[in-house]
Symmetry: C2
Subunit: 376 residues, 2 copies
């Protein structure tokens, strides 16, 4: 259940109650594609760095270790030892971005695995079944994610199919949640708004899916080719047509500035692989911009990534040490930077929530965007 | 200062006091070649898994990031944020095992870097200077490590040179420790016994180096080609000829059974890359033998690596989960297994010390060797 505690303009401070605990929103979900965060970061570490919701990938886990294996082991929470909420995406995005030999039909998508090439079929029912086996807290509806820009005609037909798929998702989840053998009988479902960069298609679709009274609504198909300005325009267009009493999740977004802009426009949930990926390459966040630890100027820098940062990395290690670890190809380098970057994102969200609590979001946003400069 | 608290036959329970705290012996040192433990394990983790002494490599750190860089950053302790004892090897072993185009002269060794091929010279003085820059707690003397078996004539001449080098090491360290600019002015020096598989050369050398009244004595040049039986025979031959009031360090050894056999013969310090390397390959230790987590039989195994193990891995994750991480090529797999294996070794030493305290080492050793079976 979603409860809005405060509004600052369109920005919301809220709580989202789930069978695995309450999430303080706005929230950034930390991505553990294969039930682990890339960079040797564990579920124990996620607790240390303030993660509220872990996000895993249906498509990836269906291939390895297999959702039936996870089911037999008691579901994702038990598998990865994480007792807070888990959101699983539907596999839709990965099927469209990773798989090959893709054929989209009314019943679903035929494609080849990116691991071993074997033929796989996934439709709304299959996606729900896999996510039910994984027993995540929140399941995402199975949708088609088109790249931007795509021809209007194609997008229109695709969105209509995605709506039909959403009805099938809802029915299938109701069936699965009522089964005795289901691990999480209270699995929640979020629908996904699509429509490319066409505001009218987006709005029409938002109205359609709002009728289904789902647990939350995502804006999908963004950060896939369009400009930031287009993205912000679409969020502004769509949000007023989604239910006021349900959380809004902007999928796969984004930079700290994207997040601030999203919150300002009414977004409650975010996720992105960027902070972990940047960390693995030695690109780390500070409040005055992103820095590259491999830069020679850090060779003798005995200060932490950011003074005053309370992350496990900054409390214990210097830029010079981490730079050495990268040069020496020590895995620890990646771990330390991923921990810092995820902490940075989680802390940013905490600061956003605090500003909202104090009715100061607008000032906070302006100040933070200026601090970050162009370099983030 | 070394203090023997108990003896069980030749096995000793002791304490070794250093400028960075007191070490309970027998002890297993955890290897962090490049000032980090391979497998994304940090100095903070080492505290969690009961490590007393960290071991880093002079040759490796001389190449990357450079000992002068570490010096400028305040020494190894500050660099890697570890306040307990650090032992640095002398570089001798790496020069002989890794470097190419090696030429041994009376003054030292000319060789090419294994990283970029550049020409390097290292002699006793250079090794001491590098270790003084690193500011480790214990420096190792610069020696020649010959493979086993090598011709007797060659070994005899090599050992004599290693003795002459030891005198130069001692003088150079005295000079360095007296310099105002030296970080650790109380750096300790361990000599290294050599002599291949020739008992008489070993004994003669042990007697020679005992005259120097060093802080400790190592047995080097073992686990480099000879059988376990030869190794045990040589330890038995050498130990009575080393000072009774100084700790004995068996370099680069070994398996849990090697360690039990070493302790029984009077060894106090051990180190080995084996537990971390095995961990990175999914080979993990249990009291009934070593197991391979990649084995298909663990796919649905919801139990920890070893029931009752108090390591961070066993307290939180299952064999099935870790096996999945290996199959999915997640770095976290290596980290979890390295943590377990190092904890296993550190705990084994704790159990050995407890048995010695209770005058039960002999029974403990017999029971443990039987438990381990042939599989460790």
């Amino acid at each position: 259940m979603f409860k809005v505690l405060k509004r600052n303009g369109n920005a919301k401070r809220g709580t989202f109650t789930t069978p695995h605990g309450t999430v303080q929103t706005p929230v950034f979900m930390n991505v553990g594609t294969l039930a682990a965060i890339k960079g040797a970061v564990s579920s124990m570490d996620l607790k240390d760095i303030g993660c509220q919701v872990e996000l895993s990938n249906t498509y990836h886990l269906h291939l390895r270790p297999g959702d039936k294996t996870v089911y037999k082991l008691g579901g994702l929470h038990k598998f990865m030892n994480w007792d807070r909420p888990i959101l699983t995406d539907s596999g839709g995005f990965q099927v469209f971005s990773l798989a090959s030999m893709r054929k989209i039909k009314e019943e679903g998508v035929y494609f080849n695995s990116h691991i071993d090439g074997r033929k796989i079929f996934m439709g709304p029912e299959e996606s729900m079944q896999i996510q039910s086996n994984l027993a995540s807290t929140i399941a995402m509806a199975f949708d088609e994610c088109v790249e931007n820009p795509s021809p209007r005609d194609y997008v229109k037909r695709s969105v209509e199919r995605t709506t039909r798929w959403l009805y099938r998702c809802k029915d299938e989840m109701a069936r699965l949640n009522s089964m005795e053998t289901t691990i999480n009988k209270k699995q929640m479902l979020f629908g996904i708004n699509q429509g490319g960069v066409y505001d009218d298609l987006r709005i029409e679709h938002a109205k359609e899916i709002s009728k289904l009274n789902l647990d939350g609504y995502a804006i999908g198909g963004l950060a896939v080719g369009e400009t930031h300005e287009e993205m912000y325009r679409i969020i502004e267009a769509v949000v007023p047509h989604l239910p006021e009493d349900k959380p809004i999740y902007l999928m796969g977004v984004g930079t700290p500035i994207n997040i601030l802009e999203g919150v300002e426009r009414g977004v409650d949930f975010f996720d992105c692989v960027l902070p972990a990926r940047n960390g693995r390459h030695g690109h780390v966040y500070t409040h005055s911009g992103k820095i590259n630890l491999l830069n020679a100027k850090y060779e003798l820098d005995g200060s932490p990534i950011e003074e005053g940062c309370e992350c496990p990395t900054c409390k214990n290690y210097t830029k010079a040490y981490i730079r050495h670890l990268f040069k020496a190809k020590e895995m620890l380098a990646m771990r330390l930077c991923v921990l810092h970057n995820l902490y940075f994102y989680n802390k940013l969200m905490e600061d956003i929530r605090k500003a909202l609590d104090e009715d100061k979001f607008s000032e906070f946003k302006q100040k933070t965007v200026e601090q970050f400069s162009e370099n983030i």
